[in-house]
Symmetry: C2
Subunit: 214 residues, 2 copies
């Protein structure tokens, strides 16, 4: 028998899915404590009790959201891996940034939620199970930093974490950073990609990128 999350992912028009999708955004913007059940229900256009009927407690809904975005992210990473397969390392990194940044900007709640889980505590200390390590090691292998999934050193894990975090930071901090730089969204996205290449290509691929700033 399928879990509520599986049912929601299978039928995107169902009420379960509609609630889940709005919950992703609200939880992503305000965090677990900042988001209220009434905010989510109002966003969907339903009564709160309808939400409880489908997803139970607030923390259960939150957990479903976390699992949901993790599933999305894993799928997307697999898609990227297939695209860049066989390319030289520098090109692999460059293309990965290009695709992933576009994707994350279209689903910024993913970056928001991941950063929240990394950095924020929840009042009742529960539910801190991860699902992250696998993704990290997958990326390490895909980037040619490790032979297989098992033999990934902590040094390499840290570098991949830094890379992923850098992407999420720029996506999630868009409002803050853009109002600081006073530029359009398109220009900002271009700048994010250029910055990521500037920083990570030399260290990860030994390549100095050609930027317009130099």
């Amino acid at each position: 028998m399928p879990t509520p999350l599986e049912k929601a992912r299978k039928d995107p028009d169902s009420m379960k899915a509609r609630i889940l999708n709005k919950a992703r955004i609200i939880f992503g913007q305000y965090g677990f404590h900042g988001a209220t059940t009434r905010m989510i229900a109002e966003e969907v256009g339903i009564d709160i009790s309808t939400m409880y009927y489908h997803w139970g407690e607030k923390s259960d809904l939150y957990e479903a959201v976390v699992l949901d975005i993790n599933e999305d992210l894993k799928t997307k990473l697999l898609e990227v891996e297939n695209i860049i397969h066989g390319m030289p390392l520098a090109k692999r990194i460059e293309i990965s940034f290009d695709i992933m940044i576009d994707y994350l900007f279209e689903h910024s709640e993913i970056s928001n939620l991941i950063l929240f889980r990394y950095f924020a505590k929840t009042r009742d200390e529960s539910a801190l199970d991860f699902h992250v390590p696998e993704v990290i090691t997958d990326i390490a292998r895909s980037m040619g930093m490790a032979k297989d999934r098992k033999n990934v050193s902590n040094e390499v894990r840290m570098r991949v974490l830094a890379l992923m975090n850098a992407m999420h930071n720029f996506v999630s901090g868009e409002d803050f950073f853009r109002s600081m730089l006073k530029i359009t969204k398109e220009e900002y996205i271009r700048l994010v990609k250029e910055t990521l290449n500037y920083i990570f290509l030399p260290s990860f691929a030994g390549v100095r990128p050609n930027t317009e700033a130099d």
Copy 2:
């Protein structure tokens, strides 16, 4: 006449300062909505109304906390700048990481609070004034990426942001990342510094660092 914040910073033993210092930690750990006035008061060991007597509304206290950590950070950056003055670029970066990472780990609420302000929204959309850009341009100049404070391109600003964020990420995400890598705090701090050097020395200073991982 001095502001409440100035009074608190002048006398670290005063009740105002004691409340402020605990508020930094609680707000940093749980965010604005996650932290409650009762949590902070209990941490100080006083009644909530005493807190209101000294700092007024919750949002006022939060604002004082933000200004407070910004002042600390600015002071520390100035201190670092004096130390690294005159050194070659690669050495400047390396020493800056070493000092700043040690400092931030001792005051992790600074990293926590900065990240919260970058990435989280607050329910009542008020009080979002910054005080960050100055710090960014100061670092850019100190790192030799800009001639003076005025002529800092957006490209350079973004790179400095990436650098600062990377530091804050590793400090603020310690619990999460360390339980993933299963290492001690000392080993983690060492790994953070090594990773930062590995990533930023090649792109910022054109230098490939000698790491034990290669």
